[in-house]
């Protein structure tokens, strides 16, 4: 049959070089060298392409995603706008993934969760971004007509997303307000899980590992009723804490005002 041979993509040399650095040269021992080479690039010419390659973390080895995050951190000293763009782009990818729920994108979506976690570890995003993302994963598209397409009952992919992100950076949420935030999230996560019903064994094992790692003493609720009751308790507790906080502030305010008047009066 008459058919033209498949034309392979010809990339400009600069793009080929960037790909060589990121997809074949990069490893633990070469990262300093790769960073230096990247800094030497003509940035105005290739920043957009570099961003595109950084988003292809799923092309490289899963265990090397932290190297790309490390490069982002290294470059942020000289090209802060690039580091900002990387973070914005990963968050957008995660969002688009939720909007499309395309089976073919799963490997890439998992790599992006890992990348976001590593960007947190390299201090390029703060914990509020991580928690906002975690809650977004639990609720996106729910209570809309699209729920059955975006997160069908038998689909456990979002559990994998949460597990991946928390495996990567959850161990840092072990004190102070981020500890409380993770405790709270994990109860919401448990409700999400219980709504899925019976889980495939591999997912259940991943979850057991995650809880053992992050919160070995946390209760795993057995039913929706139990977890709902726990959430009601939690909300009540948070409400009381907030009221106390507000009262304390009011109290300290009301102390200040009379003291000022008294001192004013004593002058008189």
């Amino acid at each position: 049959p008459e058919r033209s041979a498949r034309v392979s993509k010809v990339r400009p040399p600069l793009h080929q070089y960037i790909r060589k650095l990121l997809f074949s040269d990069l490893d633990k021992s070469s990262i300093e060298h790769v960073l230096r080479q990247l800094r030497k690039l003509p940035w105005s010419e290739c920043e957009a392409y570099l961003l595109k390659c950084f988003m292809k973390v799923h092309r490289g080895k899963y265990g090397q995603i932290h190297l790309i995050a490390s490069l982002t951190a290294g470059l942020s000293r000289y090209h802060d706008d690039f580091a900002v763009a990387v973070v914005d782009e990963v968050l957008e990818e995660i969002r688009v993934g939720l909007e499309l729920n395309d089976f073919g994108m799963q490997q890439r979506r998992i790599a992006h969760m890992r990348f976001l976690g590593e960007l947190y570890n390299y201090e390029l995003v703060d914990s509020s971004v991580i928690f906002d993302t975690l809650y977004l994963i639990l609720v996106f598209g729910h209570e809309t007509s699209e729920q059955d397409v975006l997160d069908p009952p038998e689909d456990c992919f979002r559990i994998r997303m949460v597990v991946t992100l928390l495996e990567t950076c959850g161990h840092y949420f072990d004190r102070g307000s981020s500890k409380r935030k993770l405790d709270r999230f994990l109860i919401h996560f448990q409700r999400y899980i219980l709504n899925k019903g019976v889980l495939p064994l591999d997912i259940e094992f991943d979850l057991q590992d995650l809880f053992a790692e992050l919160r070995p003493n946390m209760m795993r609720y057995a039913s929706i009723e139990e977890v709902n009751a726990a959430l009601v308790d939690l909300e009540e507790h948070e409400r009381i804490v907030n009221v106390e906080k507000a009262n304390n502030e009011k109290h300290s305010d009301s102390e200040k005002i009379p003291s000022r008047t008294t001192s004013g009066m004593s002058v008189n």
């Binding site: 000289y78 802060d80 706008d81």
Partner: protein
């Protein structure tokens, strides 16, 4: 805490929209009211289509509200008559490049 956010993302813009066209529309009402603007062009190919996107960091939180009232749900129509309904949201990461980003001496 939440109402101090000033960076927004404008999503679901037509893939073929150009930065200058969007900037013209933004500047017609919001010129001088933002510190930082960046545009990510979308793409149309046979297999994939991705929307264009923009990030804007406003000077004041009130400007964010006014911008959202103006642009959220705004419908762009491309040459073929396809409609694109814009979404305006707070950007999930509020980080903005530092202006004093030093020049790389390599």
């Amino acid at each position: 805490m939440k109402n101090r956010r000033t960076k927004v993302v404008v999503r679901h813009l037509p893939p073929t929209l150009s930065q200058s066209t969007l900037l013209e529309q933004v500047d017609s009402r919001f010129a001088g009211r933002y510190n930082w603007f960046t545009f990510r062009p979308g793409k149309t190919s046979l297999r994939h289509q991705s929307y264009s996107r923009a990030y804007i960091d406003f000077r004041n939180t009130e400007d964010v509200i006014e911008f959202a009232e103006f642009f959220d749900g705004h419908v762009f129509v491309n040459e073929k008559g396809t409609q694109f309904k814009t979404i305006v949201e707070y950007a999930p990461s509020q980080r903005v490049p530092k202006h004093w980003s030093k020049k790389d001496a390599r």
